[in-house]
């Protein structure tokens, strides 16, 4: 029995010390302790990081890594660096406190020419195996060798390796174990990156805390018809309704979900295909939410019918959902009133009360122009096409909409003066989109050149992506009447908390050039 000075297996036996294993490994251990299934993992501790910082990779670490790999092989029945069922790893940095500047995750470590072929045979998808290989090489080049390269999809692995060694000035090791050690070094080195050091300085975090490295088995959602991948929110992230909301993509890997090439299925469809995994997922969602006392965003993969949880964290949510969750979790006894107040920001409250088109205002109307909504909100005014004119007329008290082919820094004074901005060309990252969001002006981009011909007309802009003729009626929701915000305001008033105090809605409407109904 060897001693473990530098590594720790995450086998669910006891909760490890967070300072020793870092946040990522700690949350894996937490899921295991709740009886949930996660892909097997072990962690190289912050103690090894401290030793590395003073005198390089510590003696005995390599042997412990080899033993950890053997354990992962036994747990999965797969083999690292060879065999018919290859074992691939993710390599993640993780300090006790998450901080910027740390190394990003390297995925699919362990893929080689031989394991690519094995994976192709196992999945029956040679294109997938080849692409897994390509994505690993790209990540390794960018993260470990610090040389971002673009690898052409049609090329061979040998050509990709050539591209990398030319760009990086060093060859990529062939042996996955050597790659693994290089990745571990890169994680430890990233602890002292300029940004990480600065962040620690700013936030008073000790420099000798160190980061751990989590080595976790990759699971495959594309092995067979009983495999798949998806995400689950423990409540609806848009409305806050207390019903799990999720998407499932059968026979696919996580990146297929992100790529948008496939349309994910609803949870009900997952129930039909992999019923047991679906039921376990809902149980996991309940447990994770109860334990964290907050709405969870859970990434999961089903491999041959078996559910694996990849990550669970507090979910991002729309303002409506933030208010509803906060109030309902108090009613459910999950959180206190004062916690509920902490969970909704003044910006979210303002967003809920933002003026909008009156119900039915656009009924029967055809938009005179449509485009990509770049900044939400509504506003009415007279269309002008020159920023100077926009500024002059706005200064004289007119409500102005600025229409431009595209915008440049030359137009900013006109954009500031305008109530809303529309452009003929450009997308969600165009200058007009970026600046209008910074200014909080409703903005529709890429409407086509016809939009310039609207000059001289009064229009209403709906920042979701439409322009209507005339000034349409708008309403500003009242906080007291909002089912959840009203409750939060009442609690805030009781607690003498004035964070949600806003300006009267009537003033907003006047600013937007709206017609009152």
């Amino acid at each position: 029995m060897m001693t473990h000075d530098w590594t720790l297996k995450l086998d669910g036996s006891a909760m490890p010390d967070r300072a020793l294993v870092g946040g990522k490994a700690w949350s894996i251990a937490r899921m295991l302790s709740m009886g949930l299934t996660v892909p097997p993992a072990f962690v190289i501790t912050t103690k090894a990081c401290a030793a590395y910082q003073s005198s390089g990779l510590p003696e005995g670490l390599e042997a412990e890594i080899a033993e950890g790999l053997a354990w992962l092989e036994a747990e999965t029945g797969r083999q690292f660096g060879g065999g018919q069922a290859p074992l691939l790893l993710s390599v993640r940095s993780g300090a006790a406190i998450s901080m910027p500047g740390m190394m990003d995750t390297v995925l699919n470590l362990g893929i080689t020419e031989a394991t690519e072929a094995a994976l192709a045979a196992e999945t029956g998808q040679s294109a997938f195996a080849r692409d897994t290989h390509r994505r690993f090489l790209e990540l390794y080049a960018s993260i470990v060798l610090k040389t971002p390269v673009h690898l052409e999809e049609g090329a061979t692995p040998a050509q990709w390796r050539d591209t990398i060694s030319q760009a990086a000035g060093q060859a990529l090791p062939d042996d996955p174990r050597a790659q693994l050690l290089a990745a571990v070094r890169a994680v430890f080195d990233s602890w002292n990156s300029r940004r990480a050091r600065k962040y620690r300085q700013h936030n008073g975090i000790a420099d000798d805390l160190g980061t751990a490295v989590t080595l976790q088995v990759m699971v495959f959602g594309n092995l067979d018809a009983d495999s798949g991948t998806g995400v689950l929110f423990s409540r609806n992230p848009l409305t806050g309704a207390r019903a799990p909301f999720g998407e499932y993509l059968p026979q696919a890997q996580g990146e297929d979900v992100v790529s948008g090439k496939f349309t994910p299925l609803r949870l009900e469809a997952m129930h039909e295909r992999v019923g047991a995994a679906h039921d376990q997922l809902l149980i996991a969602s309940e447990r994770l939410e109860a334990d964290s006392r907050d709405m969870q965003d859970i990434e999961f993969t089903v491999q041959k019918g078996r559910l694996y949880l990849l990550q669970a964290r507090s979910a991002k949510r729309a303002p409506e959902a933030a208010a509803r969750c906060a109030v309902e979790m108090v009613h459910e006894g999950l959180i206190t009133q004062s916690e509920a107040l902490d969970r909704v920001t003044p910006e979210q409250a303002r967003e809920l009360l933002r003026p909008r088109l009156a119900e039915g205002a656009t009924a029967g109307l055809q938009a005179v122009a449509t485009g990509e909504g770049a900044c939400p909100g509504v506003a009415s005014g007279l269309v002008v096409t020159s920023p100077d004119e926009a500024e002059r007329r706005a200064a004289a008290g007119e409500a102005i909409i600025l229409a431009r082919e595209t915008t440049s820094p030359d137009d900013i004074h006109g954009m500031i003066a305008a109530k809303a901005i529309i452009t003929a060309q450009g997308g969600a990252t165009s200058h007009a989109a970026v600046v209008s969001r910074a200014l909080g002006r409703p903005c529709v981009v890429g409407c086509g050149t016809g939009v310039l011909a609207l000059a001289g007309q009064v229009v209403t802009i709906d920042g979701e992506g439409a322009v209507y003729a005339g000034a349409l009626p708008m309403v500003a929701p009242r906080a007291e009447e909002h089912p959840f915000l009203g409750q939060l305001l009442a609690w805030a008033a009781q607690a003498g908390n004035d964070k949600f105090t806003t300006q009267p809605a009537e003033a907003d409407l006047k600013t937007l050039g709206a017609v009152h109904d």
Binding site: S98, P100, G101, E247, P409
Partner: protein, 200 residues
Amino acid sequence: MDARHLALHGLAIKRYAGAEAVAELTGLSPASAEAQLAQALATGRAVETRGAFSLTPLARVALQASYDRIFAPLREDKGFAEAYHGFERINPDLKQVITDWQTIELRGERRANDHSDQAYDDRVIDRLGTLHERAEPVLSGLASALPRMAIYGRKLEAALDRAEGGDIAWVSDIHRDSYHTVWFELHEDLLRIMGRERVE
């Protein structure tokens, strides 16, 4: 580029700026920038509102017309052109980072980022830091061909420092020399130098 053109060029980029801001951007001395702006005002090339100068429409066109002559040598400079192309390669990524800073994706829907998710904000600022590291060789390439370009690198780093320090308005606030403001001024400067048009 003579002091007169340099002052007008600086004003075209800064727009509605005082002499100090024009001096900082162009590397002119404050006294020289002030004198040039006063002269531009006297000759009808600029107007002043509440201490801020801007070019008159005619002066803007005339300046644009002079660029071909003024910047011809720089456009021929291989090192500068290479750095410029490097900038254009990074520019789409910068716009994406700023868009991700301003908006957040919730199950396929883009919403305004209300900055309530600190971990999300940290990740975006982290990406901005990575992008800045990629931009550093480009910035020094520009500055070695045209020394006044060095100011952009300094201002970008200052904005990044403040954003990383937690003062998040320095990412994209339009009313200060935020990272995005300075980046766009640099882009505008480069487009004028190279005689190109903004795509979107």
